[in-house]
Amino acid sequence: MNTVNRIFIPMVLIGLITAGIIWACGENPAILAEAFSNTFFSPFGLGYTIYYATPLIFTGLSVALCFHAGLFNIGAEGQLLWGSIAIVAVSHHFSQLPVFLAIPLGIILAALAGALWGLIPGYLKAYRGSHEVVVTILLNFIATTWVGYLILYPLKNPNTQSAETEIISSTYFIPKFSNAFSWFGTELFRTTPANLSFFIALFCALLAHLILYRSALGYEWRAMGTNFTAARFAGIRTRTQTLCLFVISGAFAGLVGVNEVMGSEHKVIEGFSPGYGFSGIAVALVAENNPLGIIASAFLFGGLQTFARELEFLSDNISKDISIVLQAILLIFIACRPWLAKRLLKQRGESHD
């Protein structure tokens, strides 16, 4: 069973089911092809796909790292909110910093703020034995309301009635693709919010890959995931490592703020995240927690968002909720992949690779 078939057959099936849904809505399924090409083969669609994929890489990594040690970080949503608001706060207090200081400071503080919010469930899990799923889920609510307060009162933009913070100082701006490559005479992904923080996400994925598979630290984490008790008896300091994992996961999630605040919007809009933290779980799942695979699966999920908007645009009866339906179909196929592979193998009489 080669990999092409393992990916290709589910994809075709997903395509057929989606076409069926579209047809049942009274639309021409051919718009699927048009939406697909608008999403991945037009500079506009691709720019938006990159923009949506960037935060999903961060949250996907955040979830995946913990998964490797058998821990569940459902708190990426709260961690990314703190990461975002931290950038606005630092720009509020240090608005005159030169670019070469401002950008690293913003990035570091975003990671730090996320890390601090990750420290809480990490500590409670490691030293107090609380269940990390419950703690992280509940901390999301606290983060939403607390950050909501910061957006609406201390950091509110007084010039608008919208629920959003002031605009950060321009020295904190990370260039968009359209400006960054202007010396070449091209405005890459013109008018889209895709920005250079995408490369930070790629770098983080590479870093996570190296830590996980090329360092003693990663080895210990994976040992914890395989057999926690054995790992503890083998001398791995599981408590410290649990704390450490949640801090690093939180830092990755916090970096979402870099894409959103420093890269594109330059402010925190209340409720800006369409559930990046939760989609991160699906992203990690699809990639089987492989950091490099997360890049691809973040593209898939980011593309789905653009794709759903294109579908809504091209049709009369389809609303944007189609993206949730598509995600669900995708997840069902991912979940039943082992079963599907077995069935297909049986029919062909091949052996498992």
Binding site: V4, F8, N28, A30, I31, L32, A33, E34, F36, S37, F41, F44, Y48, G148, I151, L152, P158, N159, T160, Q161, S162, A163, E164, T191, T192, P193, E265, I269, E270, G271, F272, S273, P274, R309, E310, E312, F313, S319, K320
Partner: protein
């Protein structure tokens, strides 16, 4: 693999993407805010104006709803990218996204409702909500039996305080000792679609002796109407004519002619007379009014109607000047 998919999609494109609409007709894109086209209120009004234009003027219309505020810019850009002639943004939250996109696409025209913008390709419409709120305040004061009325605002922002200020002033012009109880659903944009909380607030008001409550909270108002029905009190609707939603329990509605503004702008664009700039629409222009139809006819006596219309005429003549929250609190919005 990828090249195969690419080839496949181009192949399908080539065969199926025939011109879906005649290229000669005007293409209008409408971007609604969080409330969505079924909020029976603000967005619904914009939607009905645009569908009316589609029916009467034969334009090509496409509507996109935004589940989150951060999706607005993406939706506006999708229209711009497909060269829509006129792109309409409903709601003050669209102010900065519209300005951003209007700068990127200087050749396209934009309409922004509820917030000011002075870009050369943006027409922005601001309604004199305080005038209409004053009128429904008058009706409430003439109808109340407990001399105690209520106001339920959506998000606590100057725009909604402007409703409240006008409403209170209108009621006090009839009965200076009338008591007004004011609640807001919230401070964030979720306040526009939280009917559960709005209902709690309304029940709270009714239990404190309020017998008429004016709701300015988008789709949250459904909760206030429910509460009015349960407690056998009256509610006042907002933005669209909402009298039909709960006949007998909705005293009247403060109608904001978003549909009118949308329709007229589309018509002007079609005839090549699109004018950018900030436009104020109020009672005088017929864009603000209170609703009276078969659903609330039994609730409003001829006497009340006569008195209210007399006051309306005085406002239109300028004899009565309705207090304006924007002007009282010289904010950026009062340009």
């Amino acid at each position: 693999m990828n090249s195969f998919l690419k080839a496949l999609s181009y192949f399908l494109l080539f065969f199926f993407s025939d011109a879906a609409y005649p290229s000669s007709s005007l293409k209008v894109g409408l971007v609604l805010d969080k409330g969505g086209k079924d909020d029976k209120s603000f967005n619904a009004s914009a939607f009905s104006g645009a569908t009316e234009a589609k029916k009467q003027l034969g334009i090509h219309l496409k509507v996109l709803e935004c589940q989150s505020d951060s999706a607005i810019a993406a939706s506006l850009r999708t229209f711009a990218q497909h060269n829509y002639d006129l792109i309409i943004g409903i709601g003050f939250v669209q102010q900065s996204p519209i300005e951003e996109v209007a700068k990127e696409f200087p050749n396209l025209s934009f309409l922004l409702v509820d917030a000011p913008s002075s870009l050369p390709n943006v027409r922005s419409v601001i309604f004199n909500e305080h005038e209409g709120s004053y009128l429904v305040g008058v009706i409430a004061a003439l109808t109340t039996k407990t001399n105690h009325i209520g106001f339920i605002g959506g998000m606590d922002i100057p725009l909604i305080r402007r409703f409240e200020r006008g409403f209170r002033a209108g009621a006090q012009s009839i009965e200076p000792r009338i008591k007004t109880l004011t609640y807001y659903v919230g401070a964030s944009s979720d306040a526009w679609r939280n009917p559960t909380k709005a209902k709690e607030l309304a029940l709270g008001q009714f239990s404190k002796g309020v017998d008429i409550s004016f709701c300015a909270a988008g789709s949250s108002c459904a909760g206030v109407f429910d509460a009015a029905e349960e407690s056998h009190r009256l509610a006042i609707g907002v933005d669209s004519n909402q009298n039909w939603v709960k006949p007998g329990f909705i005293l009247t509605s403060m109608v904001k002619g978003v549909d009118l503004a949308v329709f007229q702008t589309i018509e002007q664009k079609l005839k090549g007379r699109f004018k950018p700039g900030i436009i104020h629409l109020g009672l005088k222009e017929g864009a603000i009014s209170y609703s009276l139809d078969q659903y609330n006819r039994p609730l409003i006596s001829a006497q009340v109607e006569k008195q209210t219309n007399a006051i309306r005429n005085l406002i239109m003549k300028g004899t009565i000047v309705v207090p304006d929250y924007y002007k009282e609190n010289q904010r950026d919005q009062s340009k």
